[in-house]
């Protein structure tokens, strides 16, 4: 039952069943609500008919085989795809009820509210302090010097990095270890006080210990933020997330509580994927 041909038939069945079953049957507030979202890079369709309701103060994991559109979907949530020429979006993404693709939306303000951490850590070639201070400065969020220093410290503490770097804030961020650089990027994103944090495979380039630190951090941060994390690591999804969405060939196949997704998924493809039969 797990050969590609059967799976493709399954996809046909999914497509014709539309997207009603894709919402977990929970009665919770909704933070992000995507509705029939299609996305193309030029003439290449990357996402088809994605509908999902993401809840606040929980961790939602996106899983699925490489190339299935996880990153693309994540990047539609803060309109990062806008900077790639030739992309096209159809459908809606409501954040707190407002369509972020609607008229009169300030993309810059949106991206401050919806922070993002990338797969490959990308600290600016500046000091540790300036990496964090940058977002505060450009958003006019730090009045005085002491206020700025305070916010920088607060962000570094939130990212569990303060104790490691407090004595070398003025040294280059590029001299830090890979795990520290990634936590710096998290601190940098937190500094501008977003309410949603998008993380695209934030630990994929890190060793197990650094990965564990990031996971612990994610667990702490969900008290304050709505977190969406892309991962190709099934165990990681099971460990850190409350809800899991399984993407396949540009579609959202199944979305439910993480425990249900890993123990009793409704779709055969999901089961094949989470049990490691393909992907």
């Amino acid at each position: 039952m797990s050969d590609p041909a059967t799976r493709l038939t399954a996809l046909g069945a999914l497509a014709s069943r539309s997207s009603q079953h894709q919402h977990p049957p929970v009665d919770r507030p909704v933070k992000i609500h995507a509705e029939s979202l299609n996305f193309s890079y030029g003439s290449t369709r990357a996402l088809t008919d994605i509908s999902i309701r993401i809840h606040p103060n929980v961790v939602t994991a996106f899983i699925g085989p490489s190339g299935c559109g996880k990153s693309t979907f994540l990047r539609t949530l803060n309109r990062m795809n806008d900077i790639i020429p030739g992309t096209r979006v159809e459908g809606k993404v409501l954040i707190d009820g407002t369509d972020i693709y609607g008229p009169g939306i300030d993309v810059v303000a949106l991206r401050r509210r919806v922070g993002m951490v990338f797969q490959k850590s990308n600290p600016f070639p500046k000091s540790i302090f300036d990496n964090i201070a940058y977002g505060l400065r450009i958003n006019g969020m730090a009045g005085t010097r002491s206020e700025l220093a305070e916010r920088v410290e607060e962000s570094l503490r939130q990212a569990a990095l303060w104790d490691e770097v407090k004595d070398r804030l003025q040294t280059s961020a590029l001299a830090m270890s890979g795990g520290q650089q990634q936590r710096l990027c998290i601190a940098r994103a937190l500094a501008v006080r977003p309410d949603i944090l998008l993380m695209d495979e934030p630990a994929s380039a890190l060793d197990p210990i650094a990965t564990q630190r990031i996971e612990e951090l994610v667990y702490d941060l969900k008290k304050t933020y709505t977190i969406v994390i892309v991962t190709h690591n099934m165990q990681q999804a099971a460990r850190v997330s409350d809800f899991t969405a399984f993407f396949w060939l540009g579609r959202l196949v199944e979305y439910d509580r993480t425990d249900k997704m890993f123990t009793a998924p409704a779709e055969k493809v999901t089961e094949d994927y989470v049990t490691g039969r393909f992907g």
Binding site: N78, M80, F118, I138, V192
Partner: protein, 295 residues
């Protein structure tokens, strides 16, 4: 067993052949390098022998004279420095701004492609053409006369494509992940370019700028065609002043029949070379300085 050893022999022969080719190529490259460097060194030693005795403070600060032994070069040296300063002031802001526009802002459409191809071609246009354009546009149509401003404007046109191309190259080398990181924090395009992209691209931009200006400092043809060859015996005292530059003064001395002036020409070449070397050293220093600051 025999099959393997046969194959081994073949492989070994192939490796030996490749080693030989490798060595032969290395030897050839070295020979060419020695030839190129050798002729350059010969040239410089020759100039050095002819001109070194003429180098003195009086020569550097003196003015032209009918007597070769009294002639100095300050009028041309100051002319060159002023012209380059004005050229840079005109060409660098325009060139860097154009490159930023083309690289960061313009849409990638047919128009952008056409502009791009044209800039690349302009960088290869012979400098005399720029001279003729400068003569028609700046000297005559805009009434600047044979002034420092006209000369510098002409040279600015000449180096503009080079500055645009090298600046674009430097901007393109900035990793996209840095831009994404900035945008993701709610930065505008301008903030991203100004605070993140430009500082990283700066060493490359500065290097390109200084190399372009070094090219301008050695240019003779465009300045001759706008009429800077006329006899000028004083240092320029402003943008509207007539002027001469080092290569023109050197050319002037070389074309004199008296042998004594040849020594002056050689000394002038040494001054020009020193100026060029200083500018190139500055380019290297700036690049290293800013690269260290970044990492």
């Amino acid at each position: 067993m025999t099959g393997t050893s046969l194959a081994d022999g073949g492989v070994q022969r192939a490796i030996a052949r490749r080693r030989f080719l490798d060595l032969a190529f290395q030897a050839l490259a070295l020979l060419i390098l020695i030839l190129a460097l050798g002729s350059l060194i010969a040239l410089i030693t020759d100039v050095w022998r002819d001109g070194f005795s003429r180098l003195s403070w009086d020569f550097l600060t003196g003015f032209p004279s009918r007597r070769a032994a009294n002639a100095g070069i300050w009028h041309a040296l100051s002319g060159s420095m002023l012209v380059i300063l004005v050229t840079g002031t005109l060409a660098v802001p325009i060139g860097v701004a154009s490159a930023i526009y083309l690289e960061e802002y313009s849409r990638r459409n047919l128009m952008a492609r056409i502009i791009e191809i044209n800039i690349t071609n302009l960088a290869a246009v012979p400098s005399i053409i720029y001279g003729l354009l400068g003569l028609g546009l700046f000297v005559r149509a805009m009434g600047m006369g044979r002034s420092v401003l006209a000369g510098a404007s002409t040279l600015a046109l000449l180096v503009l494509p080079v500055i645009i191309l090298s600046t674009r190259e430097a901007l393109r080398a900035v990793p996209p992940s840095i831009r994404e990181g900035s945008y993701a924090l709610g930065a505008t395009k301008w903030q991203t370019v100004w605070y993140q992209v430009l500082p990283i691209a700066l060493p490359g931009i500065l290097t390109g700028m200084i190399l372009a200006l070094s090219r301008a400092i050695g240019e003779t043809a465009p300045l001759i065609s706008i009429g800077a060859l006329t006899f000028v015996a004083f240092a320029p005292d402003g943008l509207w002043s007539p002027f001469t530059v080092l290569p023109i003064q050197i050319f002037n001395w070389v074309s004199r029949p008296q042998v004594e002036f040849q020594a002056n020409a050689a000394a002038g070449i040494l001054v020009l070379l020193a100026l060029l070397l200083t500018m190139n050293a500055a380019a290297i220093w700036l690049r290293d300085h800013y690269q260290k600051k970044l990492s």
